[in-house]
Protein backbone atom coordinates (compact mmCIF):
# COMPACT_ATOMS: atom_id res chain seq x y z
CA UNK A 1 0.00 0.00 0.00
CA UNK A 2 1.91 2.94 -1.19
CA UNK A 3 0.99 6.19 0.48
CA UNK A 4 3.51 8.65 -0.85
CA UNK A 5 6.67 8.29 -2.80
CA UNK A 6 9.71 8.01 -0.52
CA UNK A 7 13.27 8.73 -1.48
CA UNK A 8 15.56 6.29 0.28
CA UNK A 9 18.73 7.29 -1.58
CA UNK A 10 19.89 9.47 1.28
CA UNK A 11 19.36 6.66 3.78
CA UNK A 12 21.29 4.21 1.64
CA UNK A 13 24.17 6.61 1.46
CA UNK A 14 23.99 7.19 5.19
CA UNK A 15 24.12 3.47 6.01
CA UNK A 16 27.10 2.93 3.77
CA UNK A 17 28.89 5.95 5.17
CA UNK A 18 28.25 4.93 8.76
CA UNK A 19 29.30 1.35 8.33
CA UNK A 20 32.36 2.14 6.29
CA UNK A 21 33.36 4.90 8.67
CA UNK A 22 33.86 2.09 11.17
CA UNK A 23 36.47 0.63 8.85
CA UNK A 24 38.55 3.79 8.88
CA UNK A 25 41.96 4.06 10.46
CA UNK A 26 41.70 2.60 13.98
CA UNK A 27 42.09 4.60 17.15
CA UNK A 28 44.65 3.99 19.88
CA UNK A 29 42.22 1.92 21.94
CA UNK A 30 41.91 -0.48 19.05
CA UNK A 31 45.66 -0.89 18.79
CA UNK A 32 45.85 -1.46 22.51
CA UNK A 33 43.14 -4.12 22.36
CA UNK A 34 44.89 -5.76 19.42
CA UNK A 35 48.23 -5.69 21.22
CA UNK A 36 46.74 -7.35 24.29
CA UNK A 37 45.01 -10.00 22.20
CA UNK A 38 48.13 -10.72 20.22
CA UNK A 39 50.18 -11.02 23.39
CA UNK A 40 47.73 -13.56 24.79
CA UNK A 41 47.77 -15.41 21.49
CA UNK A 42 51.55 -15.49 21.59
CA UNK A 43 51.55 -16.79 25.14
CA UNK A 44 49.20 -19.55 24.05
CA UNK A 45 51.41 -20.53 21.13
CA UNK A 46 54.50 -20.54 23.34
CA UNK A 47 52.73 -22.74 25.88
CA UNK A 48 51.70 -25.14 23.14
CA UNK A 49 55.24 -25.29 21.85
CA UNK A 50 56.50 -26.05 25.33
CA UNK A 51 53.89 -28.75 25.76
CA UNK A 52 54.85 -30.44 22.49
CA UNK A 53 58.49 -30.28 23.45
CA UNK A 54 58.26 -31.52 27.01
CA UNK A 55 55.19 -33.77 26.97
CA UNK A 56 51.60 -33.68 28.09
CA UNK A 57 52.48 -33.77 31.76
CA UNK A 58 52.76 -29.98 31.74
CA UNK A 59 49.04 -29.74 31.09
CA UNK A 60 48.09 -30.90 34.57
CA UNK A 61 46.28 -34.03 33.50
CA UNK A 62 46.79 -37.38 35.14
CA UNK A 63 45.52 -40.89 35.19
CA UNK A 64 41.84 -40.64 35.77
CA UNK A 65 41.58 -37.14 34.33
CA UNK A 66 42.74 -37.63 30.75
CA UNK A 67 40.77 -34.66 29.50
CA UNK A 68 40.96 -31.37 31.23
CA UNK A 69 41.05 -27.74 30.19
CA UNK A 70 41.65 -28.33 26.48
CA UNK A 71 38.47 -30.28 25.92
CA UNK A 72 36.71 -27.74 28.12
CA UNK A 73 37.99 -25.03 25.82
CA UNK A 74 37.03 -27.06 22.77
CA UNK A 75 33.44 -27.49 23.88
CA UNK A 76 33.30 -23.89 25.04
CA UNK A 77 34.43 -22.47 21.71
CA UNK A 78 32.25 -24.80 19.66
CA UNK A 79 29.39 -23.63 21.84
CA UNK A 80 30.27 -19.99 21.25
CA UNK A 81 30.24 -20.66 17.55
CA UNK A 82 26.71 -21.93 17.66
CA UNK A 83 24.81 -18.76 18.29
CA UNK A 84 26.36 -17.24 15.19
CA UNK A 85 24.77 -19.89 13.06
CA UNK A 86 21.62 -19.64 15.06
CA UNK A 87 21.32 -15.89 14.55
CA UNK A 88 22.24 -15.95 10.92
CA UNK A 89 20.62 -19.17 9.73
CA UNK A 90 17.86 -20.24 12.10
CA UNK A 91 16.54 -16.74 12.65
CA UNK A 92 16.77 -16.19 8.90
CA UNK A 93 14.52 -19.13 8.32
CA UNK A 94 12.16 -17.81 10.98
CA UNK A 95 12.35 -14.33 9.42
CA UNK A 96 13.24 -12.75 12.76
CA UNK A 97 14.06 -9.15 11.94
CA UNK A 98 16.31 -8.39 14.86
CA UNK A 99 18.92 -10.74 13.48
CA UNK A 100 20.01 -8.08 10.98
CA UNK A 101 21.68 -6.14 13.76
CA UNK A 102 23.83 -9.04 14.83
CA UNK A 103 24.14 -11.50 12.02
CA UNK A 104 27.43 -10.29 10.52
CA UNK A 105 29.32 -10.15 13.79
CA UNK A 106 27.70 -13.37 14.94
CA UNK A 107 28.74 -15.14 11.74
CA UNK A 108 32.26 -13.81 12.07
CA UNK A 109 32.24 -15.01 15.63
CA UNK A 110 31.16 -18.45 14.44
CA UNK A 111 33.95 -18.78 11.93
CA UNK A 112 36.58 -17.54 14.35
CA UNK A 113 35.28 -19.59 17.25
CA UNK A 114 35.25 -22.78 15.18
CA UNK A 115 38.81 -22.07 14.10
CA UNK A 116 39.77 -21.64 17.73
CA UNK A 117 37.83 -24.70 18.80
CA UNK A 118 39.31 -26.78 16.00
CA UNK A 119 42.76 -26.28 17.45
CA UNK A 120 41.97 -27.88 20.77
CA UNK A 121 41.55 -31.45 19.62
CA UNK A 122 45.04 -31.06 18.20
CA UNK A 123 46.44 -29.39 21.28
CA UNK A 124 45.22 -32.20 23.50
CA UNK A 125 46.79 -34.96 21.39
CA UNK A 126 49.69 -36.77 22.94
CA UNK A 127 51.38 -36.98 19.55
CA UNK A 128 50.08 -33.97 17.66
CA UNK A 129 52.59 -34.58 14.88
CA UNK A 130 50.48 -37.56 13.82
CA UNK A 131 47.18 -35.67 13.94
CA UNK A 132 46.50 -36.47 10.29
CA UNK A 133 45.98 -40.10 11.26
CA UNK A 134 42.58 -38.96 12.44
CA UNK A 135 41.54 -38.25 8.86
CA UNK A 136 40.47 -41.01 6.51
CA UNK A 137 42.83 -40.94 3.57
CA UNK A 138 44.27 -43.75 1.48
CA UNK A 139 47.75 -44.60 2.73
CA UNK A 140 50.42 -47.24 2.30
CA UNK A 141 49.49 -48.80 5.65
CA UNK A 142 46.11 -49.77 4.18
CA UNK A 143 44.67 -48.54 7.43
CA UNK A 144 41.64 -46.30 7.89
CA UNK A 145 40.17 -44.57 10.85
CA UNK A 146 37.63 -46.02 13.25
CA UNK A 147 34.32 -44.50 12.28
CA UNK A 148 32.75 -45.74 15.48
CA UNK A 149 34.79 -43.26 17.49
CA UNK A 150 33.04 -40.03 18.45
CA UNK A 151 36.37 -38.30 17.88
CA UNK A 152 36.16 -39.14 14.20
CA UNK A 153 32.62 -37.82 14.18
CA UNK A 154 34.10 -34.69 15.68
CA UNK A 155 36.59 -34.42 12.86
CA UNK A 156 33.77 -34.60 10.33
CA UNK A 157 31.34 -32.43 12.26
CA UNK A 158 33.77 -29.67 13.09
CA UNK A 159 35.35 -29.48 9.65
CA UNK A 160 31.92 -29.53 7.99
CA UNK A 161 30.78 -26.87 10.38
CA UNK A 162 33.78 -24.74 9.67
CA UNK A 163 33.40 -25.09 5.91
CA UNK A 164 29.69 -24.41 5.86
CA UNK A 165 29.79 -21.49 8.24
CA UNK A 166 32.72 -19.98 6.37
CA UNK A 167 30.81 -20.29 3.09
CA UNK A 168 27.72 -18.85 4.70
CA UNK A 169 29.69 -15.96 6.12
CA UNK A 170 31.32 -15.26 2.80
CA UNK A 171 28.12 -15.46 0.78
CA UNK A 172 26.45 -13.04 3.16
CA UNK A 173 29.41 -10.73 2.75
CA UNK A 174 29.52 -10.84 -1.03
CA UNK A 175 27.24 -7.86 -1.87
CA UNK A 176 28.83 -5.85 0.92
CA UNK A 177 32.26 -6.63 -0.47
CA UNK A 178 31.04 -5.20 -3.72
CA UNK A 179 30.15 -2.02 -1.86
CA UNK A 180 33.56 -2.02 -0.22
CA UNK A 181 35.16 -2.35 -3.65
CA UNK A 182 33.40 0.82 -4.64
CA UNK A 183 33.90 2.84 -1.50
CA UNK A 184 37.44 1.96 -0.59
CA UNK A 185 40.22 3.30 -2.73
CA UNK A 186 43.90 2.79 -3.14
CA UNK A 187 45.79 -0.45 -2.76
CA UNK A 188 43.21 -1.80 -0.28
CA UNK A 189 40.65 -1.72 -3.04
CA UNK A 190 42.28 -4.69 -4.74
CA UNK A 191 41.63 -6.81 -1.71
CA UNK A 192 37.90 -6.13 -1.99
CA UNK A 193 37.96 -6.36 -5.75
CA UNK A 194 39.27 -9.89 -5.59
CA UNK A 195 37.06 -10.90 -2.70
CA UNK A 196 33.95 -9.59 -4.39
CA UNK A 197 34.74 -11.83 -7.40
CA UNK A 198 33.16 -9.45 -9.89
CA UNK A 199 29.76 -9.37 -8.24
CA UNK A 200 27.43 -7.04 -10.06
CA UNK A 201 24.01 -7.76 -8.61
CA UNK A 202 22.20 -8.55 -11.82
CA UNK A 203 18.71 -9.97 -11.63
CA UNK A 204 19.98 -13.49 -12.45
CA UNK A 205 22.73 -13.26 -9.89
CA UNK A 206 20.31 -12.19 -7.21
CA UNK A 207 17.93 -14.97 -7.99
CA UNK A 208 20.70 -17.60 -7.61
CA UNK A 209 22.05 -15.75 -4.62
CA UNK A 210 18.81 -15.83 -2.71
CA UNK A 211 18.39 -19.51 -3.45
CA UNK A 212 21.90 -20.26 -2.26
CA UNK A 213 21.43 -18.25 0.89
CA UNK A 214 18.25 -20.12 1.66
CA UNK A 215 19.87 -23.51 1.04
CA UNK A 216 22.85 -22.68 3.17
CA UNK A 217 20.59 -21.54 5.96
CA UNK A 218 18.64 -24.75 5.61
CA UNK A 219 21.84 -26.78 5.75
CA UNK A 220 23.28 -24.85 8.64
CA UNK A 221 20.29 -25.34 10.87
CA UNK A 222 20.44 -29.14 11.20
CA UNK A 223 24.21 -28.90 11.06
CA UNK A 224 24.41 -26.68 14.09
CA UNK A 225 22.28 -29.12 16.03
CA UNK A 226 24.29 -32.10 14.82
CA UNK A 227 27.62 -30.53 15.63
CA UNK A 228 26.94 -29.88 19.22
CA UNK A 229 25.16 -33.18 19.53
CA UNK A 230 28.29 -34.87 18.22
CA UNK A 231 30.38 -32.89 20.68
CA UNK A 232 28.08 -33.99 23.47
CA UNK A 233 28.38 -37.58 22.30
CA UNK A 234 32.11 -37.43 22.96
CA UNK A 235 30.89 -37.73 26.51
CA UNK A 236 27.51 -39.39 26.20
CA UNK A 237 28.89 -42.35 24.22
CA UNK A 238 31.21 -43.30 27.06
CA UNK A 239 30.39 -45.38 30.10
CA UNK A 240 31.48 -42.84 32.67
CA UNK A 241 28.89 -41.81 35.26
CA UNK A 242 27.92 -38.19 34.68
CA UNK A 243 28.71 -38.50 30.96
CA UNK A 244 26.67 -41.48 29.91
CA UNK A 245 23.27 -39.85 29.64
CA UNK A 246 20.76 -39.36 26.86
CA UNK A 247 19.91 -35.73 27.58
CA UNK A 248 23.38 -34.60 26.67
CA UNK A 249 22.66 -33.71 23.05
CA UNK A 250 19.73 -31.30 23.61
CA UNK A 251 21.32 -30.08 26.81
CA UNK A 252 24.55 -29.24 25.03
CA UNK A 253 22.82 -27.60 22.08
CA UNK A 254 20.82 -25.36 24.39
CA UNK A 255 23.95 -24.59 26.38
CA UNK A 256 25.79 -23.75 23.20
CA UNK A 257 23.20 -21.27 22.08
CA UNK A 258 23.08 -19.84 25.57
CA UNK A 259 26.81 -19.25 25.69
CA UNK A 260 26.85 -17.98 22.12
CA UNK A 261 24.21 -15.36 22.83
CA UNK A 262 26.21 -14.25 25.82
CA UNK A 263 29.34 -13.96 23.69
CA UNK A 264 27.44 -11.93 21.08
CA UNK A 265 26.42 -9.48 23.78
CA UNK A 266 29.97 -9.37 25.13
CA UNK A 267 31.30 -8.53 21.69
CA UNK A 268 28.61 -6.27 20.29
CA UNK A 269 28.01 -3.96 23.26
CA UNK A 270 31.51 -2.47 23.14
CA UNK A 271 31.73 -2.83 19.36
CA UNK A 272 28.70 -0.67 18.59
CA UNK A 273 29.97 1.95 21.00
CA UNK A 274 33.50 2.02 19.62
CA UNK A 275 32.44 1.89 15.98
CA UNK A 276 29.64 4.41 16.44
CA UNK A 277 26.87 2.33 14.95
CA UNK A 278 24.40 2.68 17.81
CA UNK A 279 21.53 3.65 15.57
CA UNK A 280 21.69 0.34 13.72
CA UNK A 281 22.06 -1.94 16.75
CA UNK A 282 19.49 -0.67 19.18
CA UNK A 283 18.40 -1.54 22.66
CA UNK A 284 15.39 -3.30 21.16
CA UNK A 285 17.71 -5.65 19.37
CA UNK A 286 19.54 -6.38 22.58
CA UNK A 287 16.28 -7.01 24.36
CA UNK A 288 15.45 -9.71 21.82
CA UNK A 289 18.82 -11.38 22.34
CA UNK A 290 18.35 -11.09 26.10
CA UNK A 291 15.05 -12.92 25.82
CA UNK A 292 16.76 -15.70 23.89
CA UNK A 293 19.42 -15.78 26.58
CA UNK A 294 16.79 -16.09 29.29
CA UNK A 295 14.99 -18.83 27.41
CA UNK A 296 18.09 -20.94 26.84
CA UNK A 297 19.22 -20.32 30.41
CA UNK A 298 16.05 -21.89 31.63
CA UNK A 299 16.57 -24.92 29.38
CA UNK A 300 20.06 -25.27 30.76
CA UNK A 301 18.79 -24.92 34.31
CA UNK A 302 16.19 -27.56 33.62
CA UNK A 303 18.89 -29.89 32.31
CA UNK A 304 20.96 -29.36 35.46
CA UNK A 305 18.03 -30.37 37.62
CA UNK A 306 17.10 -33.24 35.33
CA UNK A 307 20.57 -34.76 35.60
CA UNK A 308 20.14 -35.05 39.34
CA UNK A 309 16.61 -36.33 38.99
CA UNK A 310 17.76 -39.06 36.62
CA UNK A 311 20.71 -40.04 38.80
CA UNK A 312 18.73 -40.29 41.99
CA UNK A 313 15.58 -41.72 40.48
CA UNK A 314 17.63 -44.34 38.64
CA UNK A 315 19.29 -45.31 41.89
CA UNK A 316 22.48 -46.39 40.15
CA UNK A 317 25.18 -46.38 42.79
CA UNK A 318 27.79 -44.83 40.50
CA UNK A 319 25.51 -42.09 39.17
CA UNK A 320 24.27 -41.19 42.62
CA UNK A 321 27.75 -41.08 44.09
CA UNK A 322 28.97 -39.08 41.15
CA UNK A 323 26.34 -36.40 41.45
CA UNK A 324 26.86 -36.15 45.17
CA UNK A 325 30.52 -35.61 44.40
CA UNK A 326 29.70 -32.97 41.82
CA UNK A 327 27.61 -31.09 44.31
CA UNK A 328 29.66 -31.52 47.47
CA UNK A 329 33.07 -32.81 46.40
CA UNK A 330 36.35 -31.17 45.59
CA UNK A 331 34.87 -29.24 42.68
CA UNK A 332 31.83 -27.86 44.49
CA UNK A 333 33.05 -24.27 44.16
CA UNK A 334 33.13 -24.22 40.36
CA UNK A 335 29.89 -26.18 40.37
CA UNK A 336 27.95 -23.72 42.49
CA UNK A 337 29.52 -20.77 40.73
CA UNK A 338 28.38 -22.26 37.46
CA UNK A 339 24.84 -22.67 38.81
CA UNK A 340 24.84 -19.08 39.94
CA UNK A 341 26.12 -17.73 36.62
CA UNK A 342 24.03 -19.89 34.32
CA UNK A 343 20.77 -20.35 36.16
CA UNK A 344 20.23 -17.79 38.89
CA UNK A 345 21.71 -14.64 37.42
CA UNK A 346 19.95 -14.83 34.02
CA UNK A 347 16.61 -15.05 35.85
CA UNK A 348 16.97 -11.32 36.51
CA UNK A 349 16.26 -10.83 32.82
CA UNK A 350 12.59 -11.26 33.62
CA UNK A 351 12.84 -7.63 34.68
CA UNK A 352 12.37 -5.47 31.60
CA UNK A 353 14.52 -2.66 32.90
CA UNK A 354 17.51 -4.93 33.34
CA UNK A 355 16.92 -6.51 29.97
CA UNK A 356 17.21 -3.10 28.38
CA UNK A 357 20.21 -1.99 30.40
CA UNK A 358 23.24 -2.55 28.22
CA UNK A 359 25.79 -2.23 30.99
CA UNK A 360 23.91 -4.83 32.98
CA UNK A 361 23.62 -7.08 29.96
CA UNK A 362 27.32 -6.76 29.28
CA UNK A 363 28.27 -7.68 32.84
CA UNK A 364 25.77 -10.51 32.85
CA UNK A 365 27.14 -11.87 29.60
CA UNK A 366 30.60 -12.01 31.13
CA UNK A 367 29.23 -14.04 34.01
CA UNK A 368 27.49 -16.36 31.60
CA UNK A 369 30.70 -16.84 29.62
CA UNK A 370 32.50 -17.81 32.81
CA UNK A 371 29.61 -19.98 33.90
CA UNK A 372 29.46 -21.86 30.63
CA UNK A 373 33.21 -22.49 30.64
CA UNK A 374 32.85 -23.83 34.17
CA UNK A 375 29.92 -25.99 33.13
CA UNK A 376 32.08 -27.90 30.66
CA UNK A 377 34.94 -27.98 33.12
CA UNK A 378 32.74 -29.45 35.84
CA UNK A 379 31.22 -32.05 33.53
CA UNK A 380 34.57 -33.17 32.21
CA UNK A 381 36.65 -33.10 35.35
CA UNK A 382 34.24 -34.33 38.00
CA UNK A 383 33.14 -37.28 35.90
CA UNK A 384 36.67 -38.38 35.21
CA UNK A 385 37.97 -37.71 38.70
CA UNK A 386 35.39 -39.95 40.38
CA UNK A 387 34.22 -42.81 38.25
CA UNK A 388 33.82 -46.47 39.07
CA UNK A 389 36.88 -47.64 40.92
CA UNK A 390 37.66 -45.61 44.05
CA UNK A 391 41.31 -46.67 43.92
CA UNK A 392 41.72 -44.83 40.66
CA UNK A 393 40.10 -41.62 41.82
CA UNK A 394 42.23 -38.53 41.64
CA UNK A 395 42.11 -34.86 40.90
CA UNK A 396 44.02 -33.12 38.14
CA UNK A 397 46.82 -30.71 38.85
CA UNK A 398 46.99 -26.99 38.46
CA UNK A 399 48.78 -26.13 35.26
CA UNK A 400 50.08 -22.81 34.04
CA UNK A 401 50.54 -24.24 30.58
CA UNK A 402 46.88 -25.21 30.30
CA UNK A 403 45.85 -21.80 31.62
CA UNK A 404 48.25 -20.18 29.14
CA UNK A 405 46.77 -22.09 26.23
CA UNK A 406 43.25 -21.21 27.35
CA UNK A 407 44.21 -17.56 27.57
CA UNK A 408 45.88 -17.94 24.20
CA UNK A 409 42.63 -19.19 22.70
CA UNK A 410 40.90 -16.04 23.89
CA UNK A 411 43.79 -14.07 22.47
CA UNK A 412 43.40 -15.80 19.14
CA UNK A 413 39.65 -15.26 19.11
CA UNK A 414 39.86 -11.58 19.89
CA UNK A 415 42.77 -10.99 17.53
CA UNK A 416 40.80 -12.38 14.64
CA UNK A 417 37.66 -10.56 15.72
CA UNK A 418 39.48 -7.26 15.95
CA UNK A 419 40.91 -7.78 12.49
CA UNK A 420 37.43 -8.59 11.28
CA UNK A 421 35.87 -5.36 12.56
CA UNK A 422 38.43 -3.26 10.74
CA UNK A 423 38.59 -5.23 7.52
CA UNK A 424 35.01 -6.24 6.84
CA UNK A 425 31.74 -4.37 7.26
CA UNK A 426 30.37 -5.26 10.65
CA UNK A 427 26.77 -4.75 9.57
CA UNK A 428 25.08 -6.19 6.57
CA UNK A 429 24.64 -2.98 4.57
CA UNK A 430 22.78 -4.76 1.82
CA UNK A 431 20.29 -6.28 4.21
CA UNK A 432 19.76 -2.99 6.00
CA UNK A 433 19.03 -1.32 2.69
CA UNK A 434 16.73 -4.10 1.67
CA UNK A 435 14.90 -3.93 4.97
CA UNK A 436 14.42 -0.20 4.56
CA UNK A 437 13.14 -0.68 1.07
CA UNK A 438 10.68 -3.31 2.31
CA UNK A 439 9.49 -1.12 5.16
CA UNK A 440 8.91 1.96 3.05
CA UNK A 441 7.90 0.58 -0.29
CA UNK A 442 6.13 -2.61 0.61
CA UNK A 443 7.48 -4.34 -2.43
Amino acid sequence: MKTEPVNNAAYYEQVEADVFAAMQKPRATYWLALAISLTCFGIGLACWGWQIFSGMHVSGKNNPVGWYMYITDFVFWVGIAHSGTLISAVLFLFRAKFRKAFNRSAEAMTVIAVMTAGLFPLIHLGRVWFFYWLMPYPNQRLLWVNFRSPLVWDVFAVSTYFTVSAVFFYIGLLPDLAIARRRITGIRQWFYRILSIGWRGTAKQWSHYEKLYGFLAAFATPLVISVHSVVSWDFAMSVIPGWHTTIFAPYFVAGAIFSGCAMVITLVVPMRKILGIEQYITVDHFESIAKLLLFTSMIVGYAYILEYAMAFYGGNVFETAHFMFRMLGDFRKPYWLMCFCNVLLPLTLFIRKLRRNLVYLFVLSLFVNVGMWLERFVIIVTSLAHDFDPYAWGNPNWSWVAIGITVGSFGMFFTFFLIFVKVLPVLSVTELKEERAHETLHI
Binding site: N139, Q140, R141, L142, L143
Partner: protein
Amino acid sequence: MKKLLFAAVTGYFALAGLLVFGLHFHYGVFTKRLLQPIHFPHATHINKVGLACTKCHITVTNSPAASAPPLAVCMECHTKVKTESPEIKILTEHWTKQEPIEWSKIHQLPWHVRFTHKRHIAAGVDCTVCHGEVNTMTQVHQVRSLEMGWCVSCHRENNAPTDCWTCHK
Protein backbone atom coordinates in the same frame (compact mmCIF):
# COMPACT_ATOMS: atom_id res chain seq x y z
CA MET B 1 40.37 -21.62 -24.15
CA LYS B 2 43.69 -22.46 -25.76
CA LYS B 3 45.52 -20.97 -22.85
CA LEU B 4 43.43 -23.00 -20.45
CA LEU B 5 44.18 -26.19 -22.31
CA PHE B 6 47.87 -25.39 -22.31
CA ALA B 7 47.79 -24.73 -18.61
CA ALA B 8 45.97 -27.97 -17.95
CA VAL B 9 48.39 -30.06 -19.99
CA THR B 10 51.44 -28.43 -18.44
CA GLY B 11 49.98 -28.86 -14.99
CA TYR B 12 49.26 -32.51 -15.64
CA PHE B 13 52.77 -33.29 -16.74
CA ALA B 14 54.29 -31.24 -13.97
CA LEU B 15 52.28 -33.21 -11.43
CA ALA B 16 53.21 -36.52 -12.98
CA GLY B 17 56.86 -35.49 -13.02
CA LEU B 18 56.68 -34.55 -9.39
CA LEU B 19 55.13 -37.89 -8.56
CA VAL B 20 57.82 -39.81 -10.40
CA PHE B 21 60.50 -37.75 -8.75
CA GLY B 22 58.90 -38.27 -5.36
CA LEU B 23 58.66 -42.02 -5.84
CA HIS B 24 62.24 -42.15 -7.00
CA PHE B 25 63.31 -40.25 -3.93
CA HIS B 26 61.30 -42.59 -1.74
CA TYR B 27 62.79 -45.61 -3.44
CA GLY B 28 66.24 -44.12 -3.08
CA VAL B 29 65.81 -43.97 0.67
CA PHE B 30 65.83 -47.71 1.13
CA THR B 31 67.82 -48.85 -1.86
CA LYS B 32 70.93 -46.91 -0.95
CA ARG B 33 74.16 -48.90 -0.94
CA LEU B 34 75.92 -49.23 2.36
CA LEU B 35 79.64 -49.62 2.85
CA GLN B 36 80.59 -53.10 4.05
CA PRO B 37 83.83 -54.17 5.73
CA ILE B 38 84.30 -56.89 3.13
CA HIS B 39 83.02 -56.76 -0.40
CA PHE B 40 81.01 -59.95 -0.24
CA PRO B 41 79.66 -61.06 -3.64
CA HIS B 42 76.40 -62.93 -3.04
CA ALA B 43 76.15 -63.50 -6.81
CA THR B 44 79.36 -65.51 -6.92
CA HIS B 45 78.45 -67.64 -3.95
CA ILE B 46 74.99 -68.45 -5.19
CA ASN B 47 75.50 -68.74 -8.93
CA LYS B 48 79.07 -69.94 -9.28
CA VAL B 49 79.44 -72.02 -6.15
CA GLY B 50 75.80 -72.97 -5.98
CA LEU B 51 75.29 -72.43 -2.28
CA ALA B 52 71.79 -72.27 -0.87
CA CYS B 53 70.88 -69.34 1.34
CA THR B 54 70.51 -71.61 4.34
CA LYS B 55 74.02 -72.93 3.92
CA CYS B 56 75.39 -69.79 5.51
CA HIS B 57 72.37 -68.15 7.12
CA ILE B 58 72.09 -71.09 9.41
CA THR B 59 69.49 -69.80 11.87
CA VAL B 60 66.96 -68.58 9.36
CA THR B 61 64.83 -71.70 9.41
CA ASN B 62 64.58 -72.12 13.14
CA SER B 63 64.80 -68.69 14.73
CA PRO B 64 63.42 -65.19 14.34
CA ALA B 65 66.66 -63.82 12.94
CA ALA B 66 68.48 -64.91 9.79
CA SER B 67 71.69 -63.58 11.32
CA ALA B 68 75.03 -63.14 9.63
CA PRO B 69 76.92 -66.42 9.31
CA PRO B 70 79.59 -67.08 11.91
CA LEU B 71 83.14 -66.80 10.59
CA ALA B 72 83.63 -70.48 11.17
CA VAL B 73 81.20 -71.10 8.33
CA CYS B 74 83.24 -68.88 6.00
CA MET B 75 86.40 -70.57 7.05
CA GLU B 76 85.07 -73.97 6.14
CA CYS B 77 85.99 -73.08 2.58
CA HIS B 78 88.16 -70.05 2.75
CA THR B 79 91.07 -71.74 4.44
CA LYS B 80 91.67 -73.16 0.96
CA VAL B 81 89.61 -71.22 -1.54
CA LYS B 82 90.88 -67.93 -2.92
CA THR B 83 93.08 -67.29 0.09
CA GLU B 84 95.14 -64.80 -1.85
CA SER B 85 92.26 -62.46 -2.72
CA PRO B 86 92.57 -59.17 -0.84
CA GLU B 87 89.01 -59.45 0.46
CA ILE B 88 89.57 -62.94 1.80
CA LYS B 89 92.73 -61.68 3.45
CA ILE B 90 90.59 -59.34 5.50
CA LEU B 91 88.44 -62.30 6.47
CA THR B 92 91.46 -64.38 7.41
CA GLU B 93 92.77 -61.53 9.47
CA HIS B 94 89.53 -61.34 11.43
CA TRP B 95 89.68 -65.08 11.93
CA THR B 96 93.25 -65.18 13.11
CA LYS B 97 92.70 -62.23 15.42
CA GLN B 98 89.44 -63.81 16.58
CA GLU B 99 87.51 -60.60 15.93
CA PRO B 100 83.86 -60.70 14.87
CA ILE B 101 82.94 -58.80 11.70
CA GLU B 102 80.39 -56.01 11.98
CA TRP B 103 78.38 -55.68 8.80
CA SER B 104 76.16 -52.75 8.00
CA LYS B 105 72.58 -53.92 8.39
CA ILE B 106 70.67 -53.51 5.14
CA HIS B 107 67.17 -54.66 5.98
CA GLN B 108 66.02 -52.68 8.98
CA LEU B 109 62.69 -53.06 10.67
CA PRO B 110 61.46 -50.43 13.08
CA TRP B 111 61.49 -50.87 16.85
CA HIS B 112 57.87 -51.85 17.16
CA VAL B 113 57.93 -54.77 14.75
CA ARG B 114 57.99 -58.36 15.82
CA PHE B 115 59.27 -60.33 12.84
CA THR B 116 60.30 -63.92 12.63
CA HIS B 117 62.10 -65.48 9.68
CA LYS B 118 61.29 -68.95 10.88
CA ARG B 119 57.54 -68.64 10.38
CA HIS B 120 57.92 -67.15 6.92
CA ILE B 121 60.27 -69.86 5.78
CA ALA B 122 57.99 -72.49 7.27
CA ALA B 123 55.09 -71.01 5.33
CA GLY B 124 57.09 -71.44 2.15
CA VAL B 125 57.89 -67.81 1.49
CA ASP B 126 60.94 -67.64 -0.72
CA CYS B 127 63.81 -65.46 0.45
CA THR B 128 63.58 -63.45 -2.76
CA VAL B 129 60.04 -62.28 -1.95
CA CYS B 130 61.43 -59.87 0.60
CA HIS B 131 65.12 -59.69 -0.23
CA GLY B 132 64.94 -59.59 -4.01
CA GLU B 133 67.14 -61.49 -6.44
CA VAL B 134 70.18 -61.55 -4.21
CA ASN B 135 71.89 -63.90 -6.68
CA THR B 136 72.10 -61.06 -9.17
CA MET B 137 73.53 -58.57 -6.73
CA THR B 138 77.21 -58.05 -6.38
CA GLN B 139 76.37 -55.97 -3.36
CA VAL B 140 73.17 -56.58 -1.44
CA HIS B 141 70.73 -53.73 -1.26
CA GLN B 142 67.13 -53.41 -0.23
CA VAL B 143 64.62 -53.77 -3.06
CA ARG B 144 61.37 -53.94 -1.14
CA SER B 145 60.02 -51.08 0.92
CA LEU B 146 59.34 -53.41 3.88
CA GLU B 147 56.62 -50.97 4.85
CA MET B 148 53.46 -52.01 6.58
CA GLY B 149 51.21 -51.88 3.55
CA TRP B 150 53.62 -54.09 1.65
CA CYS B 151 53.62 -56.68 4.40
CA VAL B 152 49.85 -56.53 4.83
CA SER B 153 49.15 -57.00 1.13
CA CYS B 154 51.14 -60.22 1.10
CA HIS B 155 49.54 -61.38 4.34
CA ARG B 156 46.10 -60.77 2.85
CA GLU B 157 46.88 -62.58 -0.36
CA ASN B 158 48.12 -65.63 1.51
CA ASN B 159 45.53 -65.62 4.28
CA ALA B 160 48.23 -64.99 6.84
CA PRO B 161 47.01 -63.36 10.04
CA THR B 162 46.36 -59.63 9.83
CA ASP B 163 45.83 -59.19 13.54
CA CYS B 164 47.93 -56.16 14.49
CA TRP B 165 49.61 -57.98 17.34
CA THR B 166 50.99 -60.53 14.91
CA CYS B 167 53.64 -58.00 13.92
CA HIS B 168 53.35 -55.08 16.32
CA LYS B 169 54.91 -55.39 19.73
